[in-house]
């Protein structure tokens, strides 16, 4: 691919149908990425730093100019924890996305391209994982591996490998039937060359759409794992865990300690959903949900 | 011909698309007498199906009746409320559509679909009675009475069209509109369905309007033929006159391109395509394709005038008067 074509491909989502959704989603995600990368400069306090005088630390303090999202127990600044928490979430989700694509995409390509018993076996396993409630599966794996962000990422990729596998396999089957692959075979290109040079570019747009949707799911599942205490241990900041810890504030009418971490989860998930949605509309790809 | 049952007066139906208004029916005036069989003939895109849907007030959005009137038995249908119109549909005017494969609800039994008509119009008081009447309607359409229990996928195309006709004539309507009822069927089935419609017409004393692209089919059983081109009525008259001596060059073209009518005689199509109805040609809409076009045809729209026992909209035809 020449540089010009790469630029064209990169510009494509910003044009045509769905560009509004795509751009909005990308903007949301970028805000969180910036937040994570520049956390030390953006967050006014450290994640586990007492940000109020000792006598105020016992009770959560409502939002104020000094603490735009209020304070949580032990005087933690909620805004700072939301900022620092984005690091864990994005780390887990990015790592799991890389892992599940790195495993799911090649397996799907090979399975769809060669067919036969290997394909049947793999499909059966992938389908049964796919049918299983994702969060229960992730919880099961994470509880065996033990709580840590990296283990959480591994658990999430167990859940999302089948998503990529199924999609790439389906697309590969479709592309394989088309004539130009037949032609490439007839010309005697080795399998590997055929796979990479012909099928991969064709499945790329769908992979991106599915990525957007899987990332949405993955963020919510990561938050679920955090909620179950399977990512970091308190008082390390992670949105889902912060939300869990703040549930006990609810009966006292304290809303800000749950509201803001939860809003962050939903906004980030929405960002990825809009990206997937926009791309789906752009390339007219229908997905299962 | 008797008193007219249907009188269209300057009827206009436009589809409002993003690229401009499509004038699918653009000022059609015609009468249909009680007991007649009138066939409306034209190529696809001539507006004939839209005309049929307009009479039922079922033009799908973005289409709309924008002007003119539809007098049915003296009542202007365009002025009726939706509820009043509903009481006419299915009871006083029945309609049969082109694709019998798609025109039946795939997940409901045939009998239930016909029974709807009796229940909706208050003719049957119970479901059981309605189903029994549906059986009778099926029988009338040449299907076994007990097929009320069948699902559409268990029927062939011709059988489905019979079931649809049964539903359309269930309440013995005064007018039956058949929009290309046999286009999707093979030739032998086609003839049987036309026989059925003809039989029912006689039996129930209905008026029939047949919409078709096939002038040979129209010539077989009609009393009169109306020819539409690009949203306009171009010729309207008794079958024999139209078939044997077409006045409008377009009608002539249609007849010459019909194989059945002249047996093995050479086929000649009409060169060119129907115009874009967002921007119809000036003057006579047929002039770009007309072999006889005059200079005047380009600028001036020919009015629909009486020539003998028919109406025609063509300056060339007027020369013969």
């Amino acid at each position: 691919m020449s540089a010009g074509r790469v630029v064209e491909a990169l510009k494509a989502p910003f044009r045509g149908p769905g560009r509004g959704l795509f751009t909005a989603g990308l903007a949301i995600v970028l805000v969180f990425v910036v937040m994570a990368v520049f956390a030390p400069w953006i967050a006014p306090y450290g994640p586990t730093e007492r940000s109020v005088p000792l006598q105020l630390a016992a009770e959560p303090q409502p939002p104020s100019w000094r603490h735009p999202m209020g304070t949580a127990q032990l005087g933690y600044d909620v805004f700072s924890r939301v900022v620092w928490g984005s690091r864990v979430v994005l780390y887990v989700v990015t790592l799991s996305a890389i892992l599940s694509m790195a495993i799911g995409v090649p397996l799907g390509l090979v399975s769809g391209y060669y067919g036969g018993p290997l394909d049947r076996g793999l499909s059966m396993v992938m389908d049964s994982i796919y049918a299983f409630p994702g969060i229960v599966l992730a919880i099961a794996v994470a509880s065996v591996l033990g709580p840590s962000p990296t283990n959480a990422a591994i658990s999430l990729s167990v859940v999302y490998v089948p998503t990529f596998f199924r999609m790439v396999r389906g697309q590969t089957l479709e592309v394989r039937e088309s004539l130009y692959i037949e032609a490439a075979r007839a010309l005697g290109y080795p399998d590997r060359v055929t796979l990479l040079s012909h099928i991969l570019p064709n499945v790329a747009p769908t992979t991106l759409v599915v990525f957007g949707l899987a990332a949405t799911d993955a963020i919510l599942t990561e938050a679920g794992l955090a909620f179950f205490g399977l990512t970091v241990s308190y008082p390390q900041p992670d949105w889902g865990l912060d939300l869990r810890m703040a549930l006990k504030d609810i009966p006292n009418g304290v809303w800000w300690t749950t509201f803001f971490p939860g809003l962050a989860i939903t906004l980030l998930a929405l960002g990825f959903a809009l990206i997937g949605e926009g791309l789906g509309e752009r390339y007219a790809i229908r997905t299962e949900r | 011909m008797g008193e007219p049952i249907l009188q269209l007066r300057d009827l206009r139906v436009y589809y409002y698309t993003l690229l401009g208004a499509v004038r699918a029916v653009d000022g059609v005036t015609m009468d249909v007498g009680r007991g007649e069989w009138v066939s409306i003939v034209g190529e696809s895109g001539s507006g004939k199906s839209t005309l049929a849907l307009a009479i039922m007030r079922l033009v799908p959005p973005p289409g709309r009746i924008v002007g003119g009137s539809i007098l049915f038995d003296g009542t202007d249908l365009t002025r009726l409320s939706e509820a009043e119109m509903r009481r006419i549909r299915g009871r006083r005017i029945g309609m049969v559509f082109q694709d019998p494969m798609a025109s039946l609800d795939p997940v409901r039994r045939i009998g239930d679909q016909i029974a709807d008509v009796y229940l909706e119009h208050g003719v049957a008081s119970s479901k059981g009675e309605a189903i029994r009447m549906a059986g009778e309607a099926l029988e009338m359409a040449g299907l076994p009475r007990d097929w009320v229990d069948r699902y559409p996928h268990q029927l062939s195309g011709g059988q489905r069209q019979r079931a649809l006709i049964a539903a359309a004539v269930a309440l013995k309507p005064e007018l039956l509109i058949a929009d290309e009822p046999t286009t999707a069927l093979d030739v032998i089935v086609q003839a049987k369905i036309m026989d059925l419609i003809e039989g029912l017409k006689r039996e129930l004393g209905m008026t029939v309007i047949l919409i078709t692209h096939d002038i040979a089919l129209a010539a077989e059983r009609s009393t009169r033929i109306a020819v539409m081109y690009a949203g306009k009525l171009v010729e309207y008259g008794p079958v024999d006159a139209i078939v044997e001596d077409p006045l409008h060059p377009y009608t002539r073209g249609l007849i010459e391109s019909a194989p059945d009518l002249w047996g093995e005689k050479r086929l000649r199509g009409i060169p060119g395509y129907p115009p874009d109805l967002r921007r119809p040609p000036s003057g006579c809409r047929f002039h770009p394709r007309c072999p006889l076009a005059l200079e005047r045809c380009r600028s001036e729209e020919p009015p629909l005038v009486r020539v003998g026992d028919r109406l025609v909209a063509c300056f060339r035809a007027l020369e013969r008067r």
Binding site: S128, F132, P133, I135, I250, W255, G262, R289 | R86, R108
Partner: protein, 337 residues
């Protein structure tokens, strides 16, 4: 109908391999993946190796994997999930038996809410296709899906329980209400015994969790119903219905019936997601089902309990997919086997 009966029988027999595959999957995850459950249970404290060995032996974890595989399968098939590591001598099966009906009640209620919300929003969008309402409903479909269940739960509790005092914040039944337990599905038990105060109380407890779960998982239905219904509304048989003078309400009902058939196939997949959502919902609302059990036992590191719960989830998923397939065969007359 003989064809249908045969289809149901064949489909029912297919549940055995499905369950076996899921069992194997769970087994691999929980026993083959490196990680020592006993050490995990005992945590970071120092424990003498012989104690660990003894515990491993007690749980049968020192046997070869293939022996463990069949041992555990045999026991599970007989309803024996072993004993809790935390509450010594307490059979896991008893806990699960107590918890399952609560989860079923929540999932079924959440399912009903999600389907109703999805049909209402999707229909509104399809009927007014291209309008502002349509756009709003599409947004609804995207946004609801991205809501984090405990967050929605917390906000609803704040509003309806803490501020308005309309509904309880959690649990299944008020302490003051007594109910004879039959099925364990409290609303059903109350109806069976004609216990109206208990029925209302159980229903009041069910409203917020079911709405939370249903709202978050209604989005896919909104999309599906919108897409299918707008297709169906443009089909010929709808026009034919109208041409026979049918009222618009009736036409819409018949159209929906057609539009919902493909939606049923999605229900199987959606019920699995609902089960996952129930895990978080239960934890948020202290709903004593399988999900909150999983939560408690994970924090207690009660390994056999975790394993048993996940196996039960697998079992429920298989049964649900069976039920959905059978329902599909019943409602679509075109399918005959």
């Amino acid at each position: 109908m003989a064809g249908l009966a045969r289809y149901v029988a064949v489909r029912a027999s297919l549940i055995i391999p499905t369950i076996l595959i899921l069992y194997t999957l769970v087994f691999i995850i929980l026993r083959v993946i490196p990680g020592n459950p006993v050490e995990a249970v005992l945590g970071t404290r120092y424990v003498p190796p012989e104690v660990i060995k003894e515990e491993m032996h007690r749980l049968g974890l020192d046997k070869p994997l293939y022996v463990q595989y069949f041992d555990y399968l045999w026991r599970v098939l007989h309803g024996d999930f072993g004993e809790s590591l935390v509450v010594r001598g307490r059979p896991i099966a008893a806990d699960l038996k107590y918890r399952i009906p609560a989860t079923i009640e929540l999932v079924v209620a959440g399912f009903i809410v999600s389907v109703l919300l999805g049909i209402a929003t999707g229909t509104a969008a399809a009927v007014r296709r291209g309008s502002r309402l349509d756009y709003a409903m599409r947004l609804y479909g995207i946004v609801t899906y991205t809501l984090f269940i405990p967050w929605v739960g917390a906000l609803l509790i704040l509003l309806f329980a803490v501020h308005l005092h309309w509904l309880p914040a959690g649990g299944r039944l008020s302490a003051s209400v007594s109910l004879h337990r039959i099925t364990g599905i409290y609303t059903l038990d109350a109806l069976i015994t004609g216990n109206w105060p208990a029925f209302l109380d159980a229903l009041r407890h069910l409203v917020l969790p079911a709405f939370t779960l249903g709202l978050v998982l209604s989005g896919p239905y909104t999309r599906l119903v919108r897409a299918n219904l707008s297709d169906v509304l443009q089909s010929d048989f709808i026009r034919a219905y109208r041409a026979r003078g049918l009222r618009e309400g009736k036409v819409l009902r018949y159209a929906l019936r057609n539009a919902l058939i493909p939606v049923v196939t999605y229900m199987g997949l959606q019920l699995a997601i609902l089960l996952g959502g129930a895990v978080l919902t239960e934890t948020t609302y202290s709903w004593p089902g399988l999900g909150s059990y999983l939560y408690e036992r994970i924090s207690l590191r009660d390994y056999p309990a975790i394993e048993g719960t996940v196996i039960v989830f697998a079992f429920i998923v298989s049964v649900i997919s069976l039920i959905v397939d059978v329902i599909y065969a019943f409602i679509d007359p075109r399918i005959r086997y």
